[in-house]
């Protein structure tokens, strides 16, 4: 069945042949309904085993802290079966949307089949490995067959930038801040959709977490699977390298008004100071982000529900450093294996959710019923302590 599905995909994409892959990331263990369980268990029943190193995306349960999820017995049972089925096929139980943070980093030019839109953007853009946008099911079928349709971003000629974004006018102070990147990503996804952009003018010190946050936001508002940052990402040492020396189809000069529009779009509850809960960690929090949270929090304690979503492996590392307990004692709720927009974790009463994640801000309203308010990590912590929205708007002065 897996090979039949890969072949069907190749046909519908018009791929001439298959390419061998070296790793897969399966976005199929999240329960959306019982069809997904039926599919996975059908593969297990047929003796399906992954043929390449394979990581798993988030599921609908926190298997280390099962009580954090509000779900009925049937949903809990089916969600568990779906996660178990992929582990039974030999995939590694990473249960994270950021496998690249827990030791799974394909090299430049390597062919892979990854699902999960932020992971796709990261593996292509930041690591320079090659994947198409794989949806649920096809990623699993590629993992089982070690093959993917030779199509799209697997091919060198389809990876060059066709749009140039000139971000040179962005003030250096703003471009150095984490809070800038999800907003830039939100704008980018809306502005370029499926096109590949080369962004000029970002500082060479842009961090992996900043790129991760930007890619996740861009892949939420657009079908962005690859972007280049000139002087930063592996396929863009220069603008010429990013565009393959061919003139881009268009050039966009990023303006303050563009960013302001994207910033506004990320909040649906900006006109009140109400905040009922805070959630960060989409994509999953890295160790560096936990360190930053510890620094910002200091010896303060949050007064409203404050969720940090991360990988179980990152949580384990945090525990080993002795850094998990102090955070938990300060009122921080650490969620692993899943996150607050894919499964019911937030208090059922609803209200306003504050986040520093462009992806949470994008999907929050439809998936959780909460209104959303976007801000920096500092804003999120300050708001969680004050029990009302505290936002430093001055950083956006341009």
């Amino acid at each position: 069945m897996a090979m039949r599905i890969v072949v069907s995909a190749a046909e519908l994409l018009g791929a001439p042949r298959m390419v061998e892959i070296v790793s897969a990331h399966i976005d199929g263990c999240l329960h959306h309904g019982d069809g997904g369980v039926e599919f996975a268990e059908r593969l297990v029943a047929g003796g399906g085993r992954v043929a390449v190193p394979t990581t798993l995306n988030v599921g609908a349960l926190d298997l280390l802290h099962p009580d954090k999820i509000r779900a009925n017995e049937h949903k809990r049972d089916m969600a568990r079966r779906q996660m178990d089925a992929y582990v039974a096929m030999g995939a590694s139980p990473t249960f994270t949307c950021a496998p690249y943070q827990v030791g799974h980093e394909p090299g430049v030019g390597e062919q892979v089949a990854w699902g999960e839109s932020n992971a796709i953007a990261f593996v292509n853009s930041v690591l320079g490995a090659r994947t198409e946008r794989y949806g649920d099911f096809l990623d699993a079928c590629c993992a089982l067959t070690a093959r993917a349709p030779l199509y799209g971003l697997h091919r060198t000629e389809n990876r060059r930038a066709t749009v140039v974004v000139d971000a040179r006018a962005v003030p250096a102070g703003l471009a150095s801040r984490d809070v800038f990147y999800p907003v830039l990503g939100t704008w980018l996804g809306l502005a370029v959709g499926q096109e590949i952009a080369a962004i000029e003018g970002l500082p060479p010190g842009v961090t992996r977490d900043q790129m991760k946050a930007m890619g996740a936001a861009a892949a939420s508002t657009g079908a962005v699977a690859l972007f280049h940052v000139v002087g930063v990402t592996p396929e863009a040492p220069t603008l010429e390298a990013a565009t393959g020396g061919i003139e881009a189809d268009r050039r966009i000069v990023l303006t303050a008004a563009d960013l302001e529009g994207a910033l506004r779009r990320l909040s649906t509850a900006a006109d009140s100071d109400r905040v009922d809960a805070v959630a960060v960690g989409s994509p999953h929090f890295s160790i560096a982000e936990f360190e930053e949270l510890r620094r910002v929090l200091g010896d303060r304690r949050v007064g409203i529900p404050f969720y940090v979503c991360t990988a179980r492996e990152t949580f384990r590392e945090l525990e080993q450093k002795g850094h998990a307990t102090p955070l938990i004692e300060a009122g921080v709720d650490i969620v692993v294996d899943t996150c607050v927009v894919v499964t019911p974790i937030l208090p059922a009463r609803g209200g306003v959710l504050m986040t520093n994640s462009g992806k949470f801000a994008h999907y929050g309203p439809s998936n959780t019923g909460y209104e959303v308010l976007y801000g920096s990590l500092e804003d999120c912590v300050d708001s969680a302590i004050a029990g009302r929205a505290v936002r430093n708007e001055a950083v956006w002065t341009w």
Binding site: M1, R4, I5, S8, A9, L12, L13, G14, D27, G28, L30, H32, G33, D34, G35, G36, E38, F39, R42, G115, E116, S117, I120, E132, R133, Y134, G135, D136, F137, L138, D139, P149, Y151, G152, G189, G193, Q194, A219, S220, T221, G222, A223, R265, T268, V341, H362, Y363, P365, S366, N367
Partner: protein, 141 residues
Amino acid sequence: MDVVNGRTLIAGAAVGPLLRLTHPISFWGGVDPVTGRIVDPRHPQFGASIGGTVLAVPSAVGSSSSSAIMLELLREGSAPAAILMGKPDAILALGVVVGRELGYATIPVVEVSPSDLASFRDGAVIEVDAEGRVFERVGPE
């Protein structure tokens, strides 16, 4: 009567009212997998039901979980009657391929050029035939 010749991605025949997405949508987070309603409050067609429609999707966006939502829509009987795609996409059509493997009722998916997509009237009753021909149905159904 204009007949548009599309490229069949998944063969089948269907008829239904045209629903043209005016803005790209991620099925995951954008469409309820049980009811088939558009649930993204930022989408201009928020609240519309895609079930039973001939859904015109000019371009794809967002989450790779959209194939899973497509599968659940087929399982629940809330799927569109057919999908016309402006650009082929490995995510949405895959849900239909998997549904076929699992024995769910399947739907045609046809690639139609954006200019041909634009030629159909909103709300027109559109027929898709097994050869990938897409045309407006005139007269009573």
